[in-house]
């Protein structure tokens, strides 16, 4: 018996409460945008030294998680792991919602957000930023088509092909996002081809973590517990992804230690960077890396769904910290114009730049997260994205039905 996907039936007061809360956060975020646009970026913590601040941390995290959130669907359609098939539409939905949320934050932090039409009509194709705009809109298109092939019965036979295209595009998108930083030859923190695969690895990890959190919330809210076998599968996957992320982060800093000219920057992040050092070791390494790994490797992890959820939350927190260290730490370290010399000027040459995020920036960031939530909640109510049952028995029957259909 195949698992049916249905819209949420009979929503609880909790649904409306959460929806209302998120709408409020989104509105406050928009108010913050109005305030920033009318008064200029002087009301934020950003300045000529730290030009990309907290909104970019939020935006890049959401975009990276968006491409990773599609992974569950890709595993089902592209890599033949049919157990994840019932969850594929939710995965696609989350990918779109996260991307929209991330892009909203990014677009609204522009100096001239009123010039969005200009951004969409004047293109410099050498710019990875411009190429990313195509990658983002293409991603939306491909995932929408992919969702359509999954949810429209007569189109089901095209799902593997649509899934493949979406998967390839998603890899290109994350490579593009990593390259936004990787192509910055001028800065010690970024000048590296390693950033593209690093972002790919991180996207798997963050995407799955966000997917898990949303799934657990949706299932808890609508009384359909996830089965132990599925939980154990997710836990194992998360272990692999966290490890991959940790691998690339380690390689990035380790190889940098070999380049004498990068010593100062590595030392800054790993030892003397103050908040950045603290966030790095506490965030992606300890709380977002080692701790979840240890917790998830328990033999009976499938029955400890609270632990799995907690680990997902830790990974998300570690991810934010990683983005903060990457984006802001990379700018805090002074630009090296005269290597080996001590410099000073009226424009903060030679000094560590300081940054403290302002309230409008926090509000904009959370506004973006709220938009993701609103999209997901509305979609769940309106269309069939959530499997009716996810317990072990239902999954077994589903697998048998799928096998019989293929036989």
């Amino acid at each position: 018996m195949k698992i049916e996907l249905r819209p949420l039936q009979g929503t609880s007061p909790g649904y409306y409460l959460l929806m209302g809360g998120m709408a409020l956060v989104a509105l406050v975020g928009l108010a913050a945008v109005w305030y920033m646009e009318h008064n200029g970026h002087i009301v934020t913590g950003m300045n000529n030294q730290i030009v990309w601040g907290l909104p970019h941390v939020f935006a890049v995290f959401l975009v990276v998680a968006a491409s990773g959130a599609l992974n569950v669907a890709s595993m089902a359609s592209v890599f033949g792991k049919t157990d994840y098939k019932p969850l594929a539409p939710l995965s696609g939905l989350l990918a779109i919602a996260l991307l929209l949320g991330g892009l909203t934050v990014l677009m609204l932090d522009l100096g001239r957000p009123d010039r969005l039409i200009v951004a969409m009509t004047y293109y410099n194709f050498k710019s990875i930023f411009a190429l990313n705009i195509f990658l983002y809109s293409g991603f939306m298109g491909f995932v929408i088509v992919y969702l359509w092939t999954m949810m429209e019965r007569s189109m089901n036979r095209f799902t593997p092909m649509a899934g493949l295209f979406a998967f390839i595009w998603r890899m290109a998108l994350t490579t593009g996002t990593g390259s936004i930083f990787g192509f910055l030859v001028a800065r010690q923190a970024y000048d590296s081809a390693l950033l593209a695969p690093l972002f790919i690895a991180l996207s798997f990890s963050y995407g799955l973590a966000v997917f898990l959190l949303v799934l657990m919330l949706a299932c808890k809210g609508s009384d359909r517990p996830v089965g132990d076998a599925l939980m154990a599968k997710f836990a194992r996957l998360q272990v692999i992804f966290i490890s991959a992320g940790l691998y690339f982060v380690t390689i990035y800093y380790l190889t940098n230690l070999y380049f004498t000219r990068h010593h100062a920057f590595d030392r800054f992040i790993l030892m003397d960077g103050g908040i950045y050092t603290l966030l790095f070791w506490l965030g992606p390494v300890l709380l977002g890396g080692v701790l979840p790994l240890v917790l998830l490797l328990h033999p009976r992890i499938g029955q400890m769904r609270r632990r799995v959820t907690a680990c997902a939350a830790l990974v998300v927190g570690g991810g934010f910290a990683q983005m903060y260290v990457t984006i802001i730490g990379g700018q805090a370290f002074p630009l090296v114009i005269f290597p080996g010399r001590q410099v000073s000027s009226s424009f903060s040459d030679g000094v560590i730049n300081s940054y403290s995020p302002s309230l409008p920036e926090w509000l904009l960031g959370f506004g973006g997260v709220a938009i993701v939530g609103i999209i997901v909640m509305v979609a769940l109510k309106v269309m069939g994205f959530l499997p009716e049952r996810l317990d072990d028995e239902a999954m077994q029957h589903n697998a048998a039905a799928l096998a019989a259909a293929h036989a």
Partner: protein, 259 residues
């Protein structure tokens, strides 16, 4: 049950004309697709000034550059900075949110304590990273080598500020009023040294160059790098000049002596 031969012949005839029609349509479509880009290219080519003709305004025959002799730069002297601020309507403030198009950098050799001073501004590279990364093409290099920001298309993403190896660019953080008529500046866009393009186009020299010369230091020389007879080209040909961050291969328009 043999099919009626006449109807079969008719059907074949209809099918044949149907196929022909389709083939004709497809051929026309493919031809159109193949030719259209060519037509567009011809359009673009005809719109651009013919090769070799001098169009009014900036031309690639000239390449504007500057040669800065840092041995003539006194530590603490900011004549060029003051002149730039006055000419371009900058506040002259040094808060982290204030725009600085040119700044003096004091450099110290750590082991010996030997100090040096020089002005740093947009280097007007021949291969500018800021132009490469700008998503809308607002950051561009003019035909005569001057790198500018087109504030009409700048969306204020600040990616060029991240990409500049010299930290030459500033972002305008608050609403601007009383701009100089020759130097538009607006909130939410990125700006940098324009090599006083409004003066250069009139045949004058940038404000920093004039001010330095007027004060008697004569540390900054401005001229046409493409003209071997210009003072700047002759000096670059005779003295070992360097570019800052030469290893990035950006071929800057601003060169330095004594670094």
């Amino acid at each position: 049950m043999t099919p009626d031969p006449t109807s079969q012949a008719n059907e074949t005839g209809e099918a044949k004309s149907g196929r022909r029609g389709f083939m004709a349509f497809a051929a026309a479509g493919i031809a159109g697709i193949l030719i259209a880009p060519g037509v567009r290219l011809i359009e673009i080519a005809q719109a651009a000034p013919a090769l070799g003709t001098a169009s009014p305004g900036a031309s690639s025959i000239v390449r504007w550059g500057m040669l800065i002799d840092s041995t003539k730069c006194a530590s603490g002297c900011t004549d060029c900075v003051t002149a730039c601020n006055t000419e371009n309507g900058l506040s002259g403030g040094t808060k982290t949110t204030d725009s600085q198009w040119i700044r003096k950098i004091e450099i110290k050799e750590v082991r010996t304590g030997k100090t040096q001073s020089l002005p740093m501004m947009c280097q007007h590279c021949a291969e500018p990273p800021c132009v490469d990364v700008c998503p809308t093409g607002a950051s561009f290099k003019r035909a005569d080598g001057i790198v500018l920001v087109d504030k009409h298309t700048c969306i204020g993403c600040r990616y060029c500020m991240m990409a500049c190896p010299y930290k030459a660019r500033s972002f305008v953080h608050s609403p601007q009023t009383n701009q100089k008529p020759d130097v538009p500046r607006g909130m939410g866009t990125v700006e940098a040294c324009t090599m006083c393009v409004h003066k250069v186009d009139k045949g004058e020299m940038p404000a920093c160059v004039t001010a330095c010369a007027k004060a008697g230091h004569e540390a900054i020389l401005f001229g046409d790098l493409n003209n071997p007879e210009s003072e700047i080209s002759k000096r670059i040909a005779s003295y070992p000049s360097r570019q800052i961050r030469e290893n990035l291969n950006l071929d800057t328009g601003v060169r330095y002596l004594g670094i």
